[in-house]
C-alpha cells in the first residue's frame, strides 16, 4: 500500500469497486471474446449511465432556474418566501417520488397505474432485474434520479402562477398529492408503458407529461386562489405588477435553457448506438425561435419589447420542442419554437383578460406551449424519425405528421392524449386545491399578503435591509472613507482622501 497511495486514494474515496475491465486488460491470462463481450456490455451501460446522471443533474439544477425566475417576478417583500417554496417543494417531490411516485409511474401494473416498487424497492422492478435492461442501458438508480428530477420540475411549475399569496403549508400538502400521485399516474400512461404508449402517443421529454401537467396545476391554483390584491382595477383592467428583478428572472431563464439540454438530451436514456445529441439542435433552434417569436409578438401587441416576455418566449420554445425534439426536422423545430414564442403574449393577455393572475406567465409558457408542442408532432413529425418508436417499439404501422403527408392519425392520438391529460390532471389538481382551501387554507390573510409573505410567514424579509433596520447595514463613514490611509495594513490600503 505504501508505494501506491494514489490507488489507495481511489479506494478510500470510492468504495473500491471491482474493476473487471481493467483487470481483464492486464493480468487475465488471455482475453476471450466472451469476457470481452461482457466488458463491452458493462462499458455500454456505464456510458449510458454517465450521460443519464449528468442529464439528471442538469435537470435538478433547473430548480435554481425556477427559483430565480420566480423570485425575480415576485415582489421583493415576498422574495424570500419563493425560495422557501422551492426548497420545500424539491424536498417533498424527492421524498414522494421515492415513496410512491416511481412505483406508480414505472412499476409493473396495468395500463393506468404501476403497482410495484414502493420506496424504490428495486426488486419490485422485474425489468430492472432483466439482463437486457440492467446490462445494456443506464443503471436503474440513474433512471430514478432522472425521473425524480422531472417530477420535481413539474411540481415547481405549478406555483409560478400562485406567487405572492399562497400559504406555506399549502405547498407541502399539494406537493404530496401531485408528486406522489397525480404526476406519476399520467407519466405511467406513456413513459410507463400504459395505454397512451400503446396507442403510439409521443411525448419525447414531457411537453405534456411534465410541463402541461404543471401548468394545469398552475391554472387550477390561480383560479381557486384568485388574483393578488391590487392586480385588477375595479373595472377589471389589469395593473402591472412587474416583479422586482428582471436580471434574476432572466438569469433563471438562462439556467433553465442550460438545464433543458439535460431535460431533452437525457431523455434518450442511452448515449451509445444513437445520435442522442441531435435533439439538442432542435431544442436550441426552437428556443432561439421562441425568443424571436416573443420579441416580435411583444412588439406587435404591446409596442414595447417586454423582457419578461422574451424570457417566456425562450421557455415557451423549449417547452414546445420538448415533446417533438426527436421527431421533427430542424426547420420544423424552428417553426414550432417561433409559433410558441408568438403565442406567449397573446395567451398572457388572454389569461389576464379572464381575470386570472399568473405572475410568471406559466399558463402561456408551460401550458399552451406544452399543448402546441405535443400536437406539433402530429403536424411535423417525420416517418424517419418516428418509426424507431412507433414501428420498432410500439409495433404500430409507420406514421407521419399531417404536414409531412401522414394524415391525421398521429395528430388524433396526440390530441386525445393531451385532452386526457388535461381532463385528468386538471380535475385532480382542482380537487386537491379545493380540499386544501377548505381544510388548512390555501391563501394567506389580506393582512399577511399586504405585509408580504416574508415577514408574515417567515419572520424576516428576503431583503432585510430594504425594509427593516439591520444593525450596521448603513455604512457609517468614519475615517476609513477619508484620508487616513493606515500605512500598517499593506494589502488593504484604503483609498486616500483627496479633499484639499
Amino acid at each position: 500500500m505504501r508505494s501506491r497511495p494514489l490507488a489507495a486514494a481511489a479506494c478510500g474515496l470510492g468504495t473500491l469497486l471491482a474493476l473487471p475491465v481493467a483487470a481483464a486488460a492486464q493480468d487475465a491470462p488471455a482475453a476471450t471474446t466472451d469476457s470481452l463481450a461482457a466488458q463491452v456490455a458493462s462499458l455500454a451501460s456505464a456510458i449510458d449511465t454517465v450521460w443519464v446522471v449528468v442529464a439528471a443533474c442538469f435537470v435538478l439544477f433547473m430548480q435554481a432556474g425556477f427559483a430565480l425566475l420566480e423570485t425575480g417576478l415576485s415582489r421583493s417583500k415576498n422574495a424570500g418566501a419563493v425560495m422557501a417554496k422551492i426548497l420545500i417543494n424539491l424536498a417533498v417531490a424527492i421524498t414522494m417520488f421515492w415513496i410512491s411516485g416511481f412505483a406508480l409511474a414505472f412499476g409493473s401494473g396495468n395500463d393506468f397505474i404501476g403497482t410495484s416498487g414502493w420506496f424504490f424497492n428495486a426488486t419490485g422492478f422485474p425489468a430492472a432485474a432483466g439482463t437486457a435492461f440492467a446490462s445494456a442501458s443506464a443503471s436503474v438508480s440513474s433512471l430514478f434520479i432522472f425521473q425524480m428530477a422531472f417530477c420535481a420540475i413539474s411540481l415547481a411549475i405549478v406555483f409560478g402562477s400562485m406567487l405572492d399569496r399562497t400559504k406555506f403549508a399549502a405547498y407541502i400538502a399539494f406537493g404530496v398529492v401531485f408528486a406522489g400521485v397525480i404526476y406519476p399516474m399520467v407519466a405511467h400512461w406513456t413513459w410507463g408503458g400504459g395505454w397512451l404508449f400503446k396507442d403510439g402517443f409521443l411525448d419525447y421529454a414531457g411537453s405534456s407529461i411534465v410541463h402541461l401537467q404543471g401548468a394545469l396545476g398552475a391554472l387550477a391554483g390561480a383560479i381557486i386562489l384568485g388574483p393578488r390584491l391590487g392586480k385588477f382595477r375595479k373595472n377589471g383592467e389589469p395593473v402591472p405588477i412587474p416583479g422586482h428583478s428582471i436580471p434574476l428572472a432572466i438569469a433563471g431563464v438562462l439556467i433553465l435553457w442550460f438545464g433543458w439540454m439535460g431535460f431533452n438530451g437525457g431523455s434518450s436514456l442511452v448515449a451509445h448506438g444513437v445520435d442522442f445529441a441531435d435533439v439538442l439542435l432542435t431544442t436550441n433552434f426552437a428556443a432561439a425561435a421562441g425568443v424571436m417569436g416573443a420579441t416580435l409578438g411583444s412588439l406587435l401587441m404591446f409596442r414595447t419589447i417586454d423582457v419578461s416576455q422574451m424570457g417566456n418566449g425562450a421557455i415557451g420554445g423549449l417547452v414546445a420542442i420538448t415533446a417533438s425534439c426527436a421527431f421533427v426536422d430542424y426547420w420544423a423545430a424552428f417553426v414550432v419554437g417561433l409559433v410558441a414564442g408568438l403565442l406567449i403574449p397573446v395567451v398572457v393577455v388572454f389569461v389576464e383578460r379572464r381575470g386570472i393572475d399568473d405572475p410568471l406567465g406559466a399558463l402561456a409558457a408551460h401550458g399552451v406551449a406544452g399543448v402546441w408542442g405535443t400536437l406539433a408532432i402530429g403536424l411535423f413529425g417525420t416517418a424517419t424519425r418516428m418509426d424507431p418508436v412507433i414501428v420498432d417499439v410500439v409495433g404500430l404501422p409507420s406514421r407521419a405528421g399531417l404536414f409531412m403527408g401522414g394524415g391525421f392519425s398521429q395528430l388524433w392520438v396526440q390530441f386525445y392524449g393531451v385532452a386526457a391529460t388535461m381532463a385528468f390532471t386538471g380535475t385532480l389538481c382542482a380537487v386537491t386545491f379545493l380540499a386544501i382551501k377548505h381544510t388548512i387554507g390555501l391563501r394567506v390573510s389580506e393582512d399577511h399578503e399586504a405585509s408580504g409573505l416574508d415577514i408574515s410567514e417567515h419572520g424576516m424579509f428576503g431583503y432585510p435591509e430594504s425594509f427593516i433596520e439591520v444593525p450596521g447595514a448603513q455604512p457609517t463613514p468614519g475615517p476609513a472613507w477619508g484620508g487616513d490611509a493606515d500605512p500598517s495594513h499593506a494589502m488593504t490600503t484604503s483609498t486616500p482622501a483627496t479633499a484639499p
Partner: protein, 121 residues
C-alpha cells in the same frame, strides 16, 4: 407647537428614540438623507478612476412637539447625538401653524401632547 428637525448620525438614533419614548414622546418620523457639511469627504476608486464624495448618509429626524417639550427633546438629542467630531449635525426648530391627527381629526397642541402609551414604548 414646534417641529424639531435634527440631522444626526445613524448610530445615535436608537438611543434617542428610546429615551424620547420613555419621556412620552414616541412620535417621530425618520428618513435617510445625505448630508454635506464640515465633515470631510471621502474618495471612492473604481478601476483607477477616483471621485471625491461630499455627501454622507445621515438620518433626518422630524418630530412635532408641544412647546413645553421642545427643550427637553432638544436636550436629549444634543446629549445622545453628540460625539464632538465634525458630522454631528444640526437641529432646526420651526413654528407649526397647525397640527391635525388623521385618526381622529383632532387639531391643535393636544395632537402633539406627551403620552404614556404603553404600546409605543
Amino acid at each position: 407647537m414646534k417641529k424639531i428637525e435634527a440631522f444626526i448620525r445613524h448610530e445615535a438614533f436608537d438611543a434617542i428614540r428610546d429615551r424620547l419614548a420613555n419621556m412620552g414622546l414616541p412620535s417621530m418620523t425618520v428618513s435617510e438623507v445625505k448630508g454635506s457639511g464640515r465633515q470631510q469627504g471621502y474618495t471612492e476608486s473604481y478601476r483607477g478612476a477616483k471621485t471625491t464624495i461630499f455627501l454622507r448618509p445621515k438620518l433626518k429626524l422630524e418630530m412635532a412637539v408641544d412647546d413645553e417639550d421642545v427643550e427637553s427633546a432638544v436636550a436629549t438629542i444634543l446629549e445622545l447625538a453628540h460625539t464632538g467630531e465634525p458630522g454631528d449635525g444640526k437641529i432646526l426648530i420651526f413654528n407649526v401653524a397647525e397640527a391635525v391627527r388623521v385618526r381622529t381629526g383632532e387639531r391643535g397642541p393636544a395632537v402633539l401632547a406627551r403620552h404614556e402609551d404603553p404600546l409605543a414604548t
